[in-house]
Each structure stands twice: as structure tokens, then as C-alpha cells.
């Protein structure tokens, strides 16, 4: 069946099988391979995207369910080609990634988290991060990156 999904501000219209997973649709039909698949059963969080602004597991949804919704993936974060947004920059500055496979999902989870909690403490970051598995970093530098991004955002505020 034919669907149109809005991803990172652009419409993607494709003819898909009803059983096609959203994660496969994003990666293989739309070529947005930045969203990674780690477990296909909704545990690891690698495939996390923003669905109408809220984090969602792309491996637990069918592409047809996304018809008419606004999705955001890791490819939609940077302000322009070759650039990083402040959260991505904080991840580089804090060494918040190693193999980088879980990173896109974590960036999407933390993007939504920081919008709701612009001034989190470490415990809150760890709680929010606990739905995303990382096997390389031991999480410490990821937590540092998120706290760094929050601090940087605070300093960018005009009256801060």
C-alpha cells in the first residue's frame, strides 16, 4: 500500500507491504541508514527515532502506522552538511561514543529528554538513558556529554 511519511521535514512516499517494519522502511526504503537496529524486539533502543517529537522504537512499529506522522531521525539533527548540533558536539567533546552503533538512538532519546528537562542532574540523565543499551562506553562519557550539552544550552540563553 502507498504511504507518505514526513521524515526530517521531507515527505517520503513509497509503496510498502503492510508488514514492513518502520526501521526497515527508514533504512532500506528511504536510505536513512543512520537509524540502527540492535535487537528487533524493542529493548536496546538503537533504533530510537522521534515520532511527533516523542522517542519511539522504529523496530516496534510498522511503516504504515507512520503514515501522516512527523518523524525525526539522526540525519535530521545537524544544522547543515558537515556540521554538528550542540548535543552531537557534546558527544564528541566528551568521548560519548566508541563504536557509534547505539549513538543515533541515544541522541534521539536525549534530544527529547533535554527538551523536557533542560537542566537535568546526573541521576535524571541516567534514568532517561537507561532505555538505551551501550556495550562500549560504560555510559559515563555519555552522561558527561548530556550534562555538557545541557550546560552549554544554559550558557547560550541570552539572560544566562
Amino acid at each position: 500500500m502507498k504511504i507518505t511519511v514526513r521524515i526530517n521535514g521531507a515527505n517520503h512516499t513509497r509503496d510498502v507491504e503492510p508488514r514492513l517494519l518502520l526501521s526497515d522502511f527508514l533504512r532500506h526504503d528511504c536510505g536513512l541508514t543512520g537509524t540502527h537496529v540492535g535487537c528487533e524486539h524493542g529493548v536496546c533502543g538503537a533504533c530510537t527515532i522521534l515520532w511527533d517529537g516523542a522517542p519511539a522504537r522504529a523496530c516496534l512499529a510498522f511503516a504504515v502506522q507512520a503514515e501522516g506522522h512527523e518523524l525525526r531521525t539522526v540525519e535530521g539533527l545537524a544544522p547543515g552538511p558537515g556540521q554538528l548540533n550542540p548535543l552531537q558536539q557534546a558527544f564528541q567533546d566528551s568521548h560519548g561514543l566508541q563504536c557509534g552503533y547505539c549513538t543515533p538512538g541515544i541522541l534521539m532519546t536525549m534530544t527529547a529528554f533535554l527538551e523536557e528537562n533542560p537542566k537535568p542532574d546526573e541521576a535524571q540523565v541516567r534514568e532517561a538513558l537507561s532505555g538505551n543499551l551501550c556495550r562500549c562506553t560504560g555510559y559515563q562519557h555519555i552522561v558527561d556529554a548530556v550534562l555538557r550539552a545541557a550546560r552549554a544550552a544554559e550558557q547560550r540563553k541570552p539572560n544566562a
Binding site: L32, L84, D93, H95, Q98, T103, G138
Partner: protein, 777 residues
């Protein structure tokens, strides 16, 4: 400009952070076909019949391949690591097969390969396949596997013994006779899985016009895969390109060679003349990607009255799974690493590797070192208690003294050289750890106060060594590009270790360029021909040293070319900021890019003894490995009701010689500790008596989350290795190795188990198992 030794952020990060970096499953090709496997549902069974006709008839299915269809291509895999040259050793080689022909030996062993227009159709067709099986008793328990009347994993062998190795030096019996104290215990360490976030995958494309095969593979060893595939497929090496692009975590199991899927997918691409992709799903990963850890040790230690070790005797069983293509690396590591930081005058160690009807066992981060450290550190804890010694003091009394290096351990290591510690200085590490964790204050004040308040606080303190940086060799090619950037290519693969930054720092140090201007390529056999792989914490040591040597040669070429250009002596030149100038005349500089052009002239001759371009290839092969060391210390609190642990403080003091990049090193340690915590507290593969794995999902096999891994504090000492020009030692496994032993000691301490006659002699220990144990006594 100096970048070596600085905590620089990584060159590879921006592309990963933007979702641009290529992973194997990102490879899309016109006409790509997709593979799904029909796998054995039984741990041990004869395949009586296999019917794939319905699968072949399904629309969208291109081929279904069984063992019979492979013809002569059906061969057991190669023996990756031959047995060690230990006198009297027994080794029974039984390597994995591409597809089950008559007997399945573990759940998940591939039986048929379906190739279809999409993965969805391929999986539909797997459901169309029917097989008739005659099930056989599954071999699981290591001791039962060696008893009479057992089933045999390999019936033709008439035994489940995969190997027996005995290494001894000194006279243990004499040591025991002279001992003031002998302690003997049984220690068990059970199976876990490495669980990289990216599962395995292979994409293969045969190009008939170029007469070449390209394979994208989640391997840690692309060069070895290239060589092996060429041989199996009747091609020359130059016809095969293996690319290990960005790999989503390796941790050892992606070093296994060859997995059946790695053999089958390229073969199918050549036969069908179309590109073929297989990506392992997480369920498959639990069965089809190798595991590690199961061992049972019966160990004893003999000490004098002062707590000095006189000797250690250890007899252990090692579970090698259904096949043993990786040889004896894991149990040899256990055997050798048990000796740890200590002088052990008499050592008698014998192991038996045992075939079981379980997934193959190959190295996973630590690779057997955990077990040795667990046994030795536990024996020292028990001895300290018996002798009334402080746990730090008994370790200190037995340390190899700083002036005793190089220290010959007198046993054969996994690289088949005699294990000799290159350098080390253990007391400063221990002292730093004691200070950082607040040891004296904890014993004198913190713990008594906590206990008085009804809280269960305990401390762990353990020491370890990590054999790293073994041979045989790696190489690196350094080349100045006409852009002025410098390229570095090496044959190893990268799985997140930061090679694109650390190696760039090594090269930038020699060539006076910005570290961002060094472009590192790993894992592409077309970019660098020779190599072995990323394992045993050897990347920085071996490939890093090769990069250093190559960069030094390029530096000489740069200076020689610039000296000719400026008509001056090389000693008068300054190489910095990507340019060369005559000392004192910085305004008249020539860029490296222009020098590269001068070194590759369009007219005139390249004179004898010189080569065009500013390029060099160097190799580095250490005679033996470099031995890193460290101490972990932890304060932990247990909820008395649920036995849920909370880690209140975690300190790592580590010595891996010269540090190239402290930020990347910290990440390696953090990640290792997190895996160690998983190994100690969460991760245990659970099997039933039929050899069925009961927790094959991430919802059932729990790995640590951000709530389970504490903030860690790291400190370092630096004892350079004399075995390589950089003085570096590996650090990849240091975080993971001692954590089991650390938890055991801290648990006993927190719950005051010794007073109740309870000892922690096993790993892993989830809360329920810990509850069971603490009900004893």
C-alpha cells in the same frame, strides 16, 4: 602542535554522530538478495531428512542451499590457532562446518540457507522447510561429559576431550610439604555472551567484469578473511577485497574465523551472479555468535606462615562448545594469567578442554584471563583470612618486585612464546588505589559506622595483569597526499577503539601535521594488504608501532626532499604545522603537499635508491607481548532484603605504559568495567538439560544499563614497555578482567559471609543466586 599523549577528541566521531558512517547493513546494491537461515532446533541430533521443496517454490525465493548442494565446497573450517608447543599436549581438532550434513551439534547451527528477494520472503521460506530429526542426548555438564557412558559430541572421537595441556615449573609437591597453610577450593565461572550492539553480517558482490569479489564483513580480521576466502573460492588474494567498515562493537567473537555465514554468503554471490546480504538478527546472535567463560577450577595454594606463596596447583575443565577452531587461546590465557602480579615459585596447572553441545567458545574481552584472576585473587583472600593478614598486605608481600623485570613466568603463553612480563611496578598502583578508595578510613570508620547503622557496606580490592600486544605483526602505510593531508592505512579492523585518532596522533607526532589532517583507514584489504587483526589488546601496540615506524621514514623523506628544494642541510630544517622551512626563515615555507609533488616529478629521473612520493610502509612484530597491570577497588552496598547491589565508589588504577590518548583510554577502561559488572552480576546464559538456551533475548539476558554502571574514577601509573618504540601496552581488556574477583570479595565483606562460613566461589552471581548462597551456613 604535539598531539601524542593528549586527550584529543576523536576524528571518527562527526560522521558517526551524523549517521553517515557506513556499517555492513548499510550496504545497498542493485539486485541485492537477502539470506535467512534454517537452523537446528536441537542441541544434538541426527538429520534424518530435509525437505526444502516448498521453500524453493515460494515466489521471490531465488535459491535454497543445503549441505548436499555445496558439493566439494562443504569442508570443515580451518583451524585458526594451532595447539601450543607444550610437551605431552593432546589436541583433537574438530572445526565447524558450513551447513549441517548429518549431525547438528548445537542449537542454531545452520542447516539450510534461503536466498530471496527480501529478508521477509527469505524468512517466510525458512518456515516452509521441514526436517526430520533423531535427537541425541545433549552434552552440557563438563564433568558428566567426561564420565563413562556419556554421549559424544563428535562420535568418531570416542571422547569429549578436546584438549589436555599440562604446564608445570618448580616442585609443587615439595612446596606443599613445606607449607604452613594449604587451601583448596573449587571455583566455577559460567558462560556469558559479548553482545555487541551490532550483530554480525556479511554482504558479498561478485563483479564478473572486474573478475573480483568484494565482501563487507563485520569481522575484526579482514585480511585473514580475505586470504581464507580466496583459498576456499579458488581465487587469488588480489581478486578478493574484504571491507570491515565501521563495526558496531567486536569484543572478540567477531575475530572468530570462519563463521559458516562468512563462508556461504560469498559463495552464493558468485554462484548466483548477484549481490547477497545476510544480517544476523538478535535471536540468531545468541545461538550463532560465539560465547565464552565456562570453566571449573579445582585449585590449591601453599603458603608459608608469613603469607608468601610457595606454590599453586590448579586442575580445570574448560567448555569449548561444539567445535574448537580457535584452538586453546582461552584456557591458555586462564592458565597463564592466574599467576597474576605474584611470585609463584612452584606452579602446576593442568586443563582439559571439553566438547559440549553448545555454541562455540572463542575469546570474549578478557579471553580466559578473568578465570585465572578470579581463582588466584580468591585464593589470596581466603589465605589472608586464615593467616589474619590484611588483603592488601598479602598481595603486597607476593608482588613481583620492581627490580625483577623482565620476569620469566616459565610457561607458554597464547602467542606460543615463553610468558615473560616485560616491565611493571605494582606497589605504586596498589598504594594509589588504597589512597583513592580511602581504604584505611573505610576499615577503621566507614564500615563500622555503616554496620552500626544496619547497612551492609563492603570493599573489594584486587590486582591483575593483562597480557597484551602480542605478535605476530601488523603493518602500516603512511603517505603524504598532494592535498598536504597524510593518509595512514593498516590491516587491522576497528570496532570503536578510536584508531582513527590514536594512530593519527602517532603519525602527527612525527610529521608535524594537525591530527585532523591524518586520514586513517582500517579494515580495507585494498588499502593495506597485510595484517592479522584486532584482538588481545594489540592494536595500539602492534599497528601503532608500525605506524610510528612508517611515519619516521616518511619524515626522513620529507626532510630529504625539502633539503634538496631549499639547497640546505636537513639539520637546518624545521617541520611543523604541515610545512617545512629553514630554521629562522619561517616565511619561506613549503607545504607537505607541494613536497609530495616534488617527490613525484613529471620530468627527470627518480634516482637509484629513491622512490617516488613521500610514502613508507613499515611492519612491527614484537617478540612477545607487553604486560599491563592494575588494581580495581570498589565500595558496594547491598540491600539486605533484596540483595540488590549499589556501587558507591569504583576506582581503577592502571598501568599500560605510555598513553597515546588518555580520553580514549578512559573510555576503554569504562567500557571494560561495565562488561565486567555485567559478567559478575547480570549475565549468565541459562541452558536446560536438552541444551536449549533459555534466555536468548535482550529482555531475558540483561546487560548493564546506565543505572547499573557507576561513575568510575581512574588513575594511572606509567611503566613503559621496552618491547616497542612507543613504550605502550594494550588496555582493551583491563577494565573487564578483575571485576568478578572484585565482586566476590566485596560481597563477602559487605554481607559478612565468612563469619557465617560462606564463601563466594562462583561467578556470575545474580541476586537470586546470591540469595541462595547466603541461605547456607
Amino acid at each position: 602542535m604535539n598531539s601524542f599523549g593528549r586527550p584529543l577528541t576523536r576524528n571518527e566521531d562527526p560522521r558517526l554522530l551524523r549517521g553517515e558512517a557506513l556499517f555492513v547493513d548499510d550496504v545497498e546494491l542493485p539486485g541485492l538478495l537477502h539470506v535467512a537461515f534454517f537452523r537446528s532446533p536441537h542441541a544434538h541430533a541426527h538429520l534424518v531428512s530435509l525437505d526444502v521443496t516448498a521453500a524453493r517454490a515460494r515466489e521471490g525465493v531465488v535459491a535454497v542451499v543445503t549441505a548436499a548442494d555445496l558439493g566439494d565446497y562443504w569442508q570443515p573450517g580451518p583451524l585458526l590457532v594451532p595447539p601450543p608447543p607444550v610437551p605431552g599436549m593432546v589436541f583433537n581438532q574438530r572445526c565447524q562446518v558450513p551447513l549441517v550434513r548429518d549431525t547438528a551439534r548445537h542449537v542454531g547451527e545452520p542447516v539450510a540457507m534461503v536466498i530471496a528477494a527480501s529478508r521477509y520472503i527469505a524468512e517466510d521460506a525458512v518456515g516452509d522447510i521441514s526436517a526430520e530429526w533423531e535427537t541425541l542426548p545433549a552434552v552440557g555438564d563438563l564433568e558428566a561429559a567426561l564420565a563413562s557412558g556419556t554421549a559424544y559430541v563428535h562420535a568418531d572421537l570416542g571422547t569429549n576431550v578436546a584438549a589436555e595441556v599440562h604446564q608445570a615449573r618448580g616442585d609443587y609437591d615439595a612446596a606443599a610439604r613445606a607449607a604452613h597453610l594449604i587451601l583448596k577450593r573449587r571455583f566455577t565461572y559460567d558462560r556469558g555472551a559479548s553482545i555487541p550492539m551490532e550483530t554480525r553480517g556479511v554482504v558479498a558482490q561478485w563483479d564478473p567484469r572486474a573478475d573480483r569479489l568484494t565482501v563487507w564483513d563485520t569481522t575484526q580480521a579482514p585480511v585473514v578473511i580475505r586470504n581464507g576466502l580466496a583459498g576456499m573460492l579458488g581465487l587469488s588474494e588480489r581478486q578478493v577485497r574484504v571491507v570491515a567498515p565501521n563495526i558496531g562493537g567486536g569484543f572478540g567473537p567477531k575475530m572468530m574465523m570462519f563463521y559458516p555465514e562468512e563462508v556461504l554468503v560469498p559463495w552464493a554471490a558468485m554462484r548466483l551472479g548477484r549481490p547477497v546480504k545476510w544480517i544476523e538478527d538478535r535471536l540468531e546472535h545468541f545461538f550463532a555468535t560465539t560465547h565464552e567463560r565456562s570453566q571449573i577450577h579445582d585449585a590449591e595454594i601453599a603458603l608459608d606462615a608469613s603469607g608468601k606463596i610457595l606454590g599453586v596447583k590448579d586442575v580445570f575443565l574448560h567448555d569449548t562448545g561444539a567445535y574448537d577452531p580457535y584452538g586453546l587461546t582461552v584456557p591458555l590465557n586462564s592458565q597463564c594469567t592466574l599467576l597474576g602480579c605474584y611470585v609463584v615459585p612452584a606452579y602446576d596447572s593442568r586443563f582439559t578442554a571439553v566438547f559440549t553441545n553448545r555454541t562455540l567458545v572463542t575469546p570474549y574481552r578478557g579471553a580466559g584471563r578473568q578465570h585465572g584472576v578470579f581463582v588466584m585473587e580468591r585464593l589470596l583472600d581466603l589465605a589472608a583470612r586464615e593467616l589474619g593478614l590484611d588483603r592488601a598486605e598479602i598481595r603486597r608481600r607476593n608482588f613481583i618486585p620492581a627490580d625483577a623485570f623482565p620476569f620469566d613466568q616459565g610457561v607458554i603463553y597464547q602467542d606460543f612464546s615463553r610468558l615473560s612480563y616485560d616491565s611493571g611496578d605494582y606497589e605504586p598502583i596498589l598504594d594509589k588505589a588504597l589512597a583513592a578508595i580511602g581504604y584505611a578510613d573505610f576499615i577503621a570508620r566507614v564500615q563500622p559506622e555503616a554496620r552500626a547503622a544496619g547497612r551492609s557496606l563492603g570493599l573489594g580490592l584486587v590486582c591483575y595483569v593483562e597480557g597484551t600486544g602480542i605478535g605476530p605483526y601488523e603493518g602500516a602505510k603512511v603517505q603524504v597526499q598532494s592535498s598536504g593531508k597524510v593518509s595512514l592505512a593498516t590491516g587491522i579492523g576497528s570496532q570503536g577503539q578510536g584508531h582513527a585518532t590514536a594512530f593519527a596522533q602517532v603519525v602527527a607526532e612525527q610529521l608535524g601535521v594537525d591530527v585532523r589532517d591524518v586520514e586513517v583507514t582500517t579494515g580495507d584489504t585494498d588499502q593495506f594488504y597485510w595484517g592479522v587483526g584486532t584482538f588481545a589488546s594489540r592494536g595500539a601496540v602492534v599497528a601503532g608501532s608500525a605506524a610510528h615506524e612508517a611515519a619516521k621514514v616518511v619524515r626522513q623523506k620529507v626532510l630529504k626532499t625539502a633539503a634538496a628544494h631549499f639547497e640546505c642541510a636537513e639539520e637546518d630544517l624545521v617541520l611543523a604545522d604541515g610545512k617545512v622551512h629553514v630554521a629562522g626563515v619561517p616565511d619561506h615555507a613549503i607545504t607537505l603537499g607541494k613536497l609530495a609533488g616534488l617527490a613525484n616529478p613529471m620530468r627527470g629521473a627518480v634516482t637509484p635508491g629513491t622512490e617516488p612520493g613521500l610514502e613508507a610502509t613499515s611492519y612491527f612484530g614484537p617478540a612477545s607481548g607487553a604486560t599491563a597491570s592494575g588494581v580495581h577497588a570498589m565500595i558496594i552496598e547491598f540491600d539486605a532484603g533484596t540483595l540488590r547491589p549499589t556501587i558507591l565508589d569504583y576506582v581503577v588504577v592502571h598501568d599500560c605504559g605510555t598513553v597515546i590518548n588518555p580520553l580514549i583510554l578512559a573510555g576503554q577502561i569504562h567500557g571494560g568495567v561495565a562488561q565486567g559488572i555485567g559478567n559478575a552480576f547480570f549475565e549468565q546464559l541459562a541452558w536446560d538439560e536438552n541444551g536449549q538456551l533459555l534466555n536468548a533475548s535482550l529482555a531475558d539476558y540483561l546487560i548493564p544499563t546506565a543505572l547499573d554502571v557507576p561513575r568510575m574514577r581512574l588513575e594511572h601509573t606509567v611503566t613503559p614497555s621496552p618491547l616497542n618504540p612507543l613504550g605502550v601496552k594494550g588496555a582493551g581488556e583491563a577494565g573487564a578482567i578483575p571485576v568478578g574477583a572484585l565482586f566476590a570479595q566485596a560481597i563477602e565483606d559487605a554481607l559478612q559471609l565468612p563469619a557465617r562460613g560462606i564463601e563466594i566461589l562462583e561467578m556470575p552471581l545474580g541476586p537470586s543466586r546470591l540469595f541462595e548462597i547466603t541461605q547456607r551456613g
